[in-house]
């Protein structure tokens, strides 16, 4: 429940009230802006450029980390690695999706001193992985047009044990992006160190 201010096309201003501490601004019954104790949530198209930070999560277990419920107005997402390590040497992979994670149709590549790895099931954002290394860097995913997204990134180890990787890529989704998955190419290596977060903006 929440306090609502609705600009109705039939009744004009319609308001409701409660004690939730949350207020919603509505256009003909559809909530476009919610202000709550946890922050502000925007519904529908957003014309601004506010940068919103997700929740940094420890990448110390599991085979993947999914960031979900990314708003439809988002045009830029930055995935950030901080001291990340995995149990094996599978290349680092970022996938996106609309309703579910898209696992095919990615073009582009990553390139490091370890060679070139072509994208297919996702954006490969770092190759030549050292199992004992900690990785840092960021990957940017931009809305190009319609539901096509392009990616570029720099990810590498915190020491000079191996070279960093540059990456580029593109993918066309079946709808508006609403999720990002951070994982590895083989899908079986597990995260065992560091943390991962995203920023998103309109």
């Amino acid at each position: 429940m929440s306090v609502t201010l609705n600009a109705s096309t039939s009744s004009g201003l319609v308001q409701t009230a409660d004690t939730s501490g949350t207020i919603e601004l509505q256009s003909n019954g559809t909530t476009r802006l919610t202000v709550a104790s946890t922050g502000v949530t925007i519904g529908g198209t957003f014309g601004g450029s506010v940068i919103t930070s997700g929740t940094a999560v420890a990448s110390t277990s599991g085979t993947s980390i999914d960031f979900t419920s990314i708003p439809s107005w988002v045009k830029k997402i930055t995935v950030m690695y901080s001291g990340v390590s995995t149990s094996g040497t599978s290349n680092y992979l970022v996938q996106v999706g609309s309703g579910s994670v898209t696992t095919s149709g990615y073009t582009g590549q990553t390139n490091s001193g370890g060679g070139i790895s072509a994208n297919s099931a996702g954006f490969i954002v770092c190759n030549n992985i050292g199992s004992a290394s900690l990785y840092v860097g960021s990957v940017t995913i931009l809305l190009f047009n319609s539901n096509t997204y392009v990616e570029s990134g720099l990810v590498g180890p915190t020491t000079s044990a191996a070279s960093m990787a540059t990456s580029v890529g593109a993918v066309t989704l079946g709808g508006v992006l609403d999720r990002v998955r951070v994982t590895t190419v083989n899908g079986t290596d597990t995260f065992d160190a560091g943390s991962i977060n995203i920023l998103y903006e309109g």
Binding site: T41, T55, S64, I65, F67, N186, T188
Partner: protein, 53 residues
Amino acid sequence: MTHRIVVDVQTGEVTQVEYTAEEQAAYDAAVAAQAEASAETPAETPVEPTNEV
């Protein structure tokens, strides 16, 4: 059981989602295939130094 971490960026809720039986079976099969492929890969033959001048 294997799991993934799911973060709802709008609520900040972080959830650990266990693999379904089907996902776990696929995971186990993939791990077994990787182990088999690794076992079939021949070890590299050491190269003797030549000390050529």
